[in-house]
Symmetry: C2
Subunit: 352 residues, 2 copies
């Protein structure tokens, strides 16, 4: 059986769950590599994936014998099959955030479940800690992102539109990876003051500030990096804000380590910004993995602690409405005594 399913069965056993129904498609992908619509059923004896005709062929080509997963077409699962899956199970786990109340009731009826137990993001919590294969995929995605950024710096010329630059990044990624991990942000001039700007037809001009937030997917795993740079010399105000953001981005890298409190680190950056008259208006970072945004979330609201082999971003930003914004972001691996930045593009002021 594959290692992740083995982990799941051990975890279930420790919680006295004899069966489980997994509905979150990302969790299913994590456990099985299957990228489809369906439900994963862990019974005392078997691992069963129930899907429909559209996906059967594709699912079979994804799985290996080693996975030990039986694939069923939903149309061929009988009333008796449903009742037999959890026949001798006292407790069956489910993902309470990923099935509707109607489905919850339907499952209890259809599977004849005795005790249907909420599993409280059990798999999502495990997904925070990456194994070697996951790390290797994320590192690859980060490497291509560094290379893409280097390429795009040479590509950008005044007169090009933000959309054109975003398209070039997309093409670069599509040729080398499984594609974008999110819609690329290319925000120039005053557009950079919006943290979630969408590329427009605005043309790059002399003396522009440009923020690019970009990432790709390798074997399902994401990268995420932001750099802010300049066409020619930045203004004094831009330089001052850039230096403040960069200094804080670097301090955070020094604080990130196994056991560090995400709330405390966020508070520190907030205070540093406030002392200089600015606000931190978004969270400081987030986990990266099969999803571009996943647990842990690094903000003052989340009271969580970093752990070895978590992959998180470090992305402070300052936004001056109607004028400009600066954000600098790396994807980072947490280690026992510190962290390793997986994106390594230039962070000192870049002028093109």
């Amino acid at each position: 059986m594959n290692l992740k399913l083995q982990w799941l069965r051990n975890k279930m056993s420790s919680l006295n769950l004899q069966g489980m129904i997994i509905s979150n498609p990302i969790n299913i992908k994590y456990l099985t590599n299957i990228n489809a619509e369906g439900t994963l059923i862990i019974t005392p004896k078997e691992n069963i994936y129930i899907t429909d005709g559209r996906y059967i062929e594709d699912v079979h080509s994804t799985l290996t014998l080693f996975d030990e997963i039986i694939v069923y077409n939903v149309n061929s699962v009988s009333k008796d099959d449903y009742e037999n899956f959890f026949m001798f199970c006292e407790n069956v786990g489910f993902e309470e955030h990923y099935i509707s109340y109607a489905t919850y009731k339907d499952y209890i009826r259809k599977f004849k479940i005795n005790n249907f137990i909420e599993t409280e993001y059990m798999i999502e919590k495990q997904r925070m800690i990456k194994d070697e294969e996951e790390l290797s995929n994320i590192i690859k995605a980060c490497n291509v992102t560094d290379e893409c950024f280097k390429y795009i710096l040479g590509y950008i010329k005044p007169g090009m539109t933000e959309k054109q630059i975003a398209k070039e990044i997309e093409n670069y990624y599509i040729e080398r990876t499984d594609g974008l991990s999110f819609e690329t942000i290319v925000a120039s001039g005053e557009n950079s003051s919006k943290p979630h700007a969408v590329p427009t037809d605005r043309k790059i001009q002399e003396r522009d500030i440009i923020t690019i937030d970009m990432g790709c997917i390798v074997n399902g795993y994401c990268s995420d990096m932001t750099r802010t740079f300049f066409v020619g010399e930045p203004t004094d105000e831009m330089k001052k804000v850039y230096d403040l953001v960069l200094a804080n981005q670097k301090i955070v890298l020094e604080e990130y380590k196994d056991g560090a409190s995400t709330r405390q680190i966020t508070k520190m950056v907030e205070n540093n910004f406030k002392l200089n008259g600015y606000d931190l208006i978004h969270s400081l970072g987030h986990g990266v993995g099969l999803e571009i945004h996943e647990s842990p979330y690094i903000s003052y609201r989340a009271d969580s602690f970093l752990r070895e082999n978590m992959i998180v971003t470090d992305e402070p930003g300052i936004y001056i409405p109607g004028k400009f914004g600066v954000r600098i972001e790396d994807t980072v691996q947490i280690t026992k005594f510190g962290c390793i930045s997986l994106t390594n593009s230039e962070k000192n002021i870049i002028m093109i």
Copy 2:
């Protein structure tokens, strides 16, 4: 209060519901025109929309005094507020298909709800019957679709790619409407044998068969039309299949009327196809409104009856794997004694 909220309150009253929580964003749009993320709360005295900072401004600009909807920022709703909303309510309705089991439990706790009652697609069922304003929007979307099809027939030339044609349709719609109601299908040659083909880089050739499935949105309401046509003369086999599909598409138009059984009509087409050695591999049609696919679903599985002022599609198709496919589809208004086709593009064999 707006008419749709008045309908809802009457309906609730007939079901002995003193309050209701509405979670399906399309239902909220239907009742209020609000297009955002949030929850609509119907209390005995007030209509309340709870959203977050990202949407507040936009929601306020959508609503009029006539709507009688109070907008709350979720961050400013206190524990007491939640408990007061349904204070004297015996029964509160909810949408069991649109909240997770976790949210269901959270609501009961937070709102201190006595009896939380499933409402069984109550609003979706009402949405099937369109009022005058809805009809007028759908008719506009269908008119632009006819015009767009006429335009695109003149635009297509051998050597163009499917993607290029799909892009031209998108541009046509974007200039005149609120955009596409779904990703346009342009499927040429052997690609037309896939009902859900995605436009590729395949170039249109002489003697090609081309299927285009297209639609746009006007004030939130969708249109949906498919035509299959030919570059030059079709083969005898193509002609035979085309005539069979068209004959059935027209018979269905004669059968569509208030009271007609969707299952019987589907069975009829299936039988006609079978007699000629073909299968009907997808449903015969679906409702069209705020969603491109909504109730009623017209297939042998659904046992429902058409009603006056439902808007549905009529879209039989035959697909010969690896060779070609033919689908002809109109968006249609059901009337007391028949139906009115709202898309009216040419259906006799078109050769470009």
